[in-house]
Amino acid sequence: MTEARSAVEAVFRIESARIIAATARIVRDVGIAEEIAQDALLAALEQWPESGVPDRPGAWLMVTAKRRAIDLVRRKETYARKLAEVGRTLEDVPPPEPADPDRIDDDLLRLIFTSCHPVLSTQARIALTLRLLGGLGTEEIARAFLATETTVAQRVVRAKRTLGRAGVPFEVPYGPDRAARLDSVLEVIYLIFNEGYAATTGDDLLRPALCQDALRLARVLAGLMEKEPEVHGLVALLELQASRAAARTGPDGAPVLLADQNRSRWDRLLIRRGFAALARANEAGGAGPYALQAAIAACHAHAVTYEATDWTVIATLYRRLAALVPSPVVELNRAVAVSMAEGPAAGLVLVDALAAGPELKAYHLLPSVRGDLLERLGRAQEARAEFVRAAELTRNEQERTLLLARADRVSR
């Protein structure tokens, strides 16, 4: 009995995004589509334990959901006709057809673009995407974001309502709109990954399940948009970052810096997949921010030891990244790479330029990096002052201890 139930749920999890997507095309509303998909699941839970699991359970769920969707549209149609008595032609409703892979792909893409629509807040986009495409329950989403289930449920309901009210069409955008909308899709997946990778709240540094969900979404998107270089760039970046997960924390849960990570614990399968995705991004003509960041991650993955890292290439990649998406944090990373490639003096020039600007005034990594460069240049007193300043700026207790220890060491 429980076995039949878990089988039904597994099939539903595999198929739910496709079922919601196909249903949404018929009813033109992702909220209603999700409810219909849930109804189909309930029907399966009722019938399968008695009648046995059908030969093609996914197709069964799909046909059931589509029938319900068509019934609903027909009822509305009749209602609208009776109510208005005007000759408004509704779209022809297609009968349930055999699974057409292209059609399913198109439907899924529409669902992704709708869930990540800019009319929604970032939090709403994330919750809706995880719900409709990741197949996560509100409870799972709540656990991942340390929110209450009620909050997440409300967020999802409100997101669906916003989409309906704004009249967001269930479509994949074309033309000039497309690039901007794709950026929004990629951003949502990246944010989900980062929430898992650098958990902003809570005790754990890493929430692996969320990273895996994001990675799976990115892989799905890559399968749907094979010609988009940045999609492959994002997949490559996520695979490569995920490959380091096991090495990023010590036994006590404390973070381990890249330089100190045990590289034998990096996941070779994910690295290989990251390289392959990066190659696909390059073949598709990729030179966007995700592909560039993936290329930087690939440089680290290629290096057998930290000392073997090709900093010249990394510095070049950061220069291209800074040109594409100018940001003081990217510039600071570039300064570090330059200092490793050309020596601390070259890096200091870049850091000093940053220190003169206002953007990173409260960012502890700026004095921390500057202190490091000054120490390497033998300017101990100045280095000490920078480490102390960095310690004052950080909000992380472990980091503060580390920085004060460095300040102490350099002045002796």
Binding site: A7, R13, I14, Q212, R216, R219, A246, R273
Partner: protein, 118 residues
């Protein structure tokens, strides 16, 4: 999300002599594409027959090298897949789909083992 290694075991001596049919290869290709697009299939490959395999054993401080075929074994690993699934129910569902693309006269076993992480 756990990763699983599925080892596909076949009986080399009783496998269909003509090998996999054209239709089987097509169904398999479509399924593997679907699994890749679903972000589930991380890696897969078929293996050449054990006639081309070799076993190297280290025991009592000595090596023994044995060339295939390994006729004493009834079932041999004919291929493998690394699949990332939410849980055991999901990997079971994918595995069933994988096995069901074979015609009824095949006997194929997928042994599912979770990959230890961390």
């Amino acid at each position: 999300m756990p990763r699983y290694l599925t080892m596909v075991r076949i009986d080399e001596n009783n496998a269909p002599a003509e090998g996999p049919s054209e239709a089987l290869m097509q169904r398999m290709g479509a399924l593997l594409e679907e699994m890749t697009k679903a972000g589930v299939l991380l890696d897969t490959a078929g293996l050449t027959p054990t006639a081309q395999g070799t076993r190297v054993t280290w025991s009592n401080g000595e090596f023994t090298v044995t060339d295939g075929p390994f006729t004493e074994t009834k079932e041999v690993i004919g291929g493998y897949a690394i699949i990332q699934a939410k849980d055991k129910a999901e990997i079971l569902e994918w595995t069933k789909r994988f096995l069901a693309v074979h015609e009824a006269h095949w006997t194929v076993t997928s042994e599912i083992r979770e990959i230890a992480e961390g």
